[in-house]
Amino acid sequence: MRFVLRRAGFFVLTLWACVTLNFLLPRLMPGNPAIALMAKFHGRLNPVALKAIEVAFGVNTNESLAAQYVSYLHDLATGNLGISLTFFPTPVSVVIRGAILYTLGLVGVTTILAFIIGTLIGIVGAWRRGGWLDSILPPVFVITSAIPYFWVGMLLILVFGIKLNWFPYDFAYDPSLSPSLTLPFIGNVIVHSILPAIAILITSIGGWILTMRNTMITTLAEDYVKMARAKGLSSRRIMFDYAARNAILPNLSGFAMSVGFIVSGAVLVEYVFNYNGLGYLLVQALDSEDYPLMQALFLLITIAVLIAILLADIVTAILDPRTRSAR
């Protein structure tokens, strides 16, 4: 119970730190970006939008910093994230809602796939230590994990999109279709997500392989594994039920963490493929200096990670009693 409380305490403190960081960052920056922005948009934006920027950045107000902070917190608590400048006058929350499903679908599915495939390769690699699989895959994926993943995306676009014309490489679905829950539309979305998904898979699978393989190797030297061999249990049973089951913990908690990072998505892959998820939205907000949207996305991304970490801690504590007493 103390354990859960301490974790919850950290959660609340970190959340507060992130919210405050989000509030302070634009106000601390030299040469207030909002003033430059307002000068730029002056006469082009209507007064409501200008007001939105003023509120978001605390310019042209007589309010003290503390008062601004209080009203900022109040807005957040009531879910008022401000108004997007890029998609004016759509509220930020509506803009985000339109993009979040695509990111969750693309990055979510690829994260799960990378975890499953990587863990399996790690298990088999450690089991057949020094075999062909173990000699080739781990080093190869160590190298691919050092390649910029957006560049892998660009290569895939070049080969499978432009040259071979096998897959579409622009946008999350055919713009001639309108989003709906029908089979043709869903199929279209899946086809559009194949190339970006492969780009993410190639560059993210290495971490899972390495962690699993290295923990598994340590586990295989344990006495209970020798005992299982001595009992004459089948290889498969020893591999999965004895060794992998005990070695998977680090990978599992890593997986729980990466669930949080799904929301922050693969910013650059989405950008390269013009895939209209949250990451692409973040780049768009950056290009058009849409600070309210940027702030909201950052906050959303951070909260997702925080929740995932809280869950990861709890899951680990349930699965592994040793961690409960650890500092």
């Binding site: 230590r129 290295n214 961690t323």
Partner: protein
């Protein structure tokens, strides 16, 4: 460990520190050098890194063209005069690739070194001093650890338009030190009660002395590993930021090459090399660091060292055959 537990966060392997005694840093570096020579992966990585370092220091010896000069034909294909062809603006791509090494490597090494330095200070101070120090320092590190780095980088750099290389490096250091700090803290906690540290305390040495002279030398391996890991990450993060046009798009680096290639739709307009070459170079540089790091893991953790056959096969062929027959 506070938030994350165990190997998920890469808690150092048990074999990574040398036990007890008064380890000497020169000795440890010598050990690292021997290890690099004896390990194929480490050697490949170190050789690559050496080549890139030469390119970064002496780019004019290899590419005489001014990488920025827009003096050639536009979008030429590869030829004897222009090995990689030219950009849409008429710049020589080979010269850009060679001269771009300097900035990319500089960012990787300097930000990697500085953030490792910060990791050491924060991690060791938190782990060794304990108490309130630990609570405060560790909280700062934990917060920075959980905030997704790349979006944070984007936001900070977006608020600071036109920050140069020093700015970019500062941001990378602040956002990137936390992971290493956490590992070093965990390691410090685990050796804190060792006798030789106790002895130093009893002798009446100051904390700063104990940390600098007693603890840091015993962690050389882990500190080097932290540097390598951070360097890989920073190569990729800096390239990503430059690819988005953040930082200074007029500088010559592999990331900005990619930015201009993307902006001119190089892939769609048959100027493949413009996009392929800088990315491949970034990948090679990252791979160089990653290979050294991977080999380093094997070296510092004997349990992972490559063995040609599985242990059971060596130790007990009969037992193994028995279980193999039963399997499948």
């Amino acid at each position: 460990m506070a938030i994350l537990t165990g190997a998920a966060i890469g808690e150092p392997a048990p074999g990574i520190t040398r036990q007890g005694g008064q380890p000497h840093p020169g000795q440890a570096l010598g050990r690292i050098w021997r290890a690099i020579r004896s390990n194929k992966k480490a050697f490949a990585g170190a050789s690559l890194l050496a080549i890139f370092t030469l390119l970064a220091i002496f780019p004019w010896a290899i590419a005489r063209d001014n990488p920025q000069a827009e003096i050639y034909g536009r979008s030429l294909g590869p030829s004897a005069a222009h090995w990689f062809g030219t950009t849409y603006y008429g710049q020589d791509l080979f010269a850009q690739a060679v001269w771009g090494t300097r900035e990319t490597l500089l960012i990787a090494v300097v930000s990697g070194a500085l953030s490792t330095f910060l990791s050491v200070i924060m991690g060791l101070a938190a782990g060794y001093l304990g108490g309130l120090w630990d609570a405060v320092l560790n909280f700062i590190t934990d917060v920075l650890l959980v905030i997704p780095t790349f979006p944070l980088l984007i936001i900070i750099v977006a608020y600071l338009p036109g920050i140069g290389i020093p700015g970019l490096i500062t941001v990378l250091v602040i956002t990137g030190y936390s992971y290493g700090a956490r590992q070093l803290r965990a390691q410090t906690l685990s050796i804190r009660g060792r006798d030789y540290l106790e002895a130093a305390r009893v002798r009446g040495e100051r904390s700063s002395y104990v940390i600098l002279v007693e603890i840091i030398p015993s962690m050389t391996s882990l500190i080097v590993a932290t540097f390598l890991g951070t360097a890989v990450y920073n190569v990729l993060a800096a390239a990503g930021l430059q690819f988005l046009g953040l930082g200074n798009p007029d500088s010559v680096s592999w990331g900005t090459m990619l930015y201009w290639a993307q902006n001119n739709e190089a892939l769609q307009t048959d100027q493949y090399l413009w996009a392929i070459i800088p990315g491949a170079l970034i990948g090679l540089l990252g791979a160089a660091f990653a290979l050294i790091n991977y080999a380093f893991d094997e070296i510092s953790n004997p349990a992972l060292a490559r063995v040609p056959l599985t242990r059971t096969r060596q130790l007990n062929p009969v037992l193994r055959r028995l279980s193999a027959n039963r399997a499948n």
